[in-house]
């Protein structure tokens, strides 16, 4: 029987495209310090430290060892977890499993990436199959461009509908002091931004960011006795992997991993009508078209109805289910941290610490992770 576990604190850097004032361990230390401060804790209160990034972006492979001093892991139980884009969510899930097992009480989880130290598209090509995919694939931009062509053709989704996702999320980012891109954009701005890979334009796509995020996952006892914040309890978690090649996956962008993980997580959480029962969601939306399609995969609307749901305003801050109050991945993307930022932002909403991006009275929050060959991690959090 799993014990209860909660996120009791979060910490983030102020994400930017190039943080030349810090090296990797200094960047990590900023998020760790912010998180410990939020928890009113010191490393002496931690019994494990888990960390993750995507190694081939920086060519740094042992961050768990290398950053032992800066993470507070010195002479503690520590490990590194790397699962591609989902890394940050995988680390958070591992934090949950450490605590829910009853073997650990207070676990610091860290996701980070310093993309300006390497080359993101080259790094992403390295996570695909060397014999069959690397010679032609064009990183995440190319992959989502392929997926969007299929999605538009099948359901009549328009570039304007996709552009509205960028308008919404970039607008929300104005309320988040940690967001990387903090400038509002219009549909016309998105449509006239440079074509990266048809039909994906510059403003349809996430940026590359330097940044780190940390959360503390604690047992029920620690959460109730020591946490200065209102705990964000884990209610459901689900992970799915799929076939190795993108070319295997039918209706690529709609992600059967996400559909299946959502079904599993909703069953665990007793959720029947997610758009009504969830109060806020943080998606790992690498591009505008993905957010539309994932409305469908997550059961917020019917298959092919993502564009109409966007048009309806239901996912705006004032709508039935605000999606990406933080500004989402379109506004900030430090890849190894990105999926953890989704979980941290969901927790921040339940703690009531969202400031200008707060969804009033949020009680149940969903976070998604995206990575590799379209695989998924879903986290549902709730507050008492």
């Amino acid at each position: 029987m799993a014990g209860r576990a909660a996120i009791i604190a979060t910490g983030q850097t102020f994400h930017k495209s190039r943080r030349r004032d810090v090296n990797i361990v200094e960047l990590i230390h900023e998020a760790v310090s912010a998180c410990l401060q939020d928890a009113e804790m010191s490393p002496a209160d931690l019994d494990a430290v888990l960390i993750g990034n995507m190694e081939h972006f920086e060519g740094v492979y042992n961050a768990d060892l290398w950053a032992a001093a800066e993470t507070g892991a010195y002479l503690k139980h520590a490990m590194k977890i790397t699962t591609g884009g989902t890394t940050g969510a995988s680390v958070a899930h591992a934090g949950y499993y450490h605590v829910a097992s009853g073997m650990f009480n207070c676990v610091l989880c860290i996701g980070w990436e310093k993309q300006s130290d390497g080359d993101t598209t080259a790094g992403l090509i390295f996570q695909s199959d060397p014999l069959f995919e690397r010679s032609n694939m064009a990183g995440a931009i190319g992959t989502f461009a392929l997926a969007a062509s299929e999605y538009m053709n099948k359901f009549g989704i328009t570039e304007e509908q996709a552009a509205r996702v960028a308008v919404k999320n970039r607008g929300n980012a104005l309320n988040n002091p940690h967001a990387h891109l903090r400038r509002a954009v219009t549909v016309q701005d998105v449509l006239s931004s440079p074509m990266l890979a048809s039909p994906i334009k510059l403003m349809d796509m996430c940026p590359t960011s330097d940044g780190a995020c940390a959360i503390i996952v604690a047992s029920e006892e620690v959460a109730k006795k020591k946490s200065p914040n209102r705990p964000a309890w884990f209610k459901a978690l689900s992970t799915r992997h799929d076939q190795p090649f993108n070319s295997d996956l039918p209706l690529l962008i709609n992600m059967r991993t996400l559909r299946d993980a959502a079904k599993d997580a909703y069953a665990q959480a007793g959720i029947v009508n997610p758009i009504k029962e969830l109060d806020v969601a943080e998606f790992y939306e690498p591009c505008t078209f993905a957010e539309l399609s994932w409305y469908e995969a997550l059961g917020l609307c019917e298959l092919g109805g993502g564009g109409k749901l966007m048009d309806s305003g239901a996912t705006q801050m004032t709508g039935e289910l605000p999606v990406n109050p933080s500004g989402g991945v379109i506004s900030t993307n430090c890849i190894g941290a990105t999926a953890m930022i989704r979980v941290a932002e969901a927790a921040i909403q339940l703690m009531g610490k969202g400031g200008a991006r707060q969804v009033p009275g949020a009680k149940t929050a969903l976070a998604t992770g995206f990575g590799g060959s379209f695989w998924t991690e879903i986290t549902i959090l709730e507050r008492d």
Binding site: A122, I125, L131, S135, N136, I141, E150, N153, A197, S247
Partner: protein, 158 residues
């Protein structure tokens, strides 16, 4: 010596332009596939004995069935374009260490007699001249070396 407050420090970078080659084993299945491309200009998929799906790229195990694939089936060279893009942004190709030439088209093609799709270059790099559902055909290079790039690209046959 402590840094003086308010004084700007010159921030340095250390470059590491690596020449760090990899040599990936193709295995028995990959070697068979690439030799057929090189020597016979033929494309083969691998069939699952249980669900009868023919996989391209070929692989040793069917994921859904967890059954070893056990038969070669010739697929293509024709097929249908199901997803496509034309890439305009420039980027570093980690397979060569050089910028990949742009613009270029690539897509997912469902080859005749295959149940999954192959990702490859397209002859066309004007997105207006491409559409989902187009018939395509593999064009082979004159000089072939036993790699996926022995297929130069797929071109429209309409």
């Amino acid at each position: 010596m402590m840094e003086q407050a308010g004084r700007q420090i010159e921030l340095l970078e250390m470059s590491a332009p690596a020449n760090f080659p990899y040599n990936y084993s193709c295995g028995k299945i990959g070697s068979f596939f690439f030799k057929k491309l090189r020597d016979e200009k033929k494309i083969y998929g691998r069939k699952c004995p249980r669900c009868k799906k023919v996989y391209i790229p070929p692989r040793p195990v069917c994921g859904p069935c967890f059954a070893p694939t056990d038969e070669w089936v010739e697929v293509g060279p024709g097929g249908v374009l199901e997803c496509f893009t034309v890439v305009f942004f420039g980027f570093l190709d980690p397979m060569t260490g050089k910028k990949r030439p742009v613009p270029y088209g690539y897509g997912l093609i469902r080859l005749d007699h295959a149940d999954s799709r192959i990702q490859h270059f397209l002859s066309e790099n004007d997105p207006k001249k491409l559409r989902v559902g187009m018939r395509m055909e593999a064009v082979f290079n004159q000089e072939r070396e036993g790699k996926l790039s022995d297929i130069k690209w797929f071109q429209p046959v309409e």
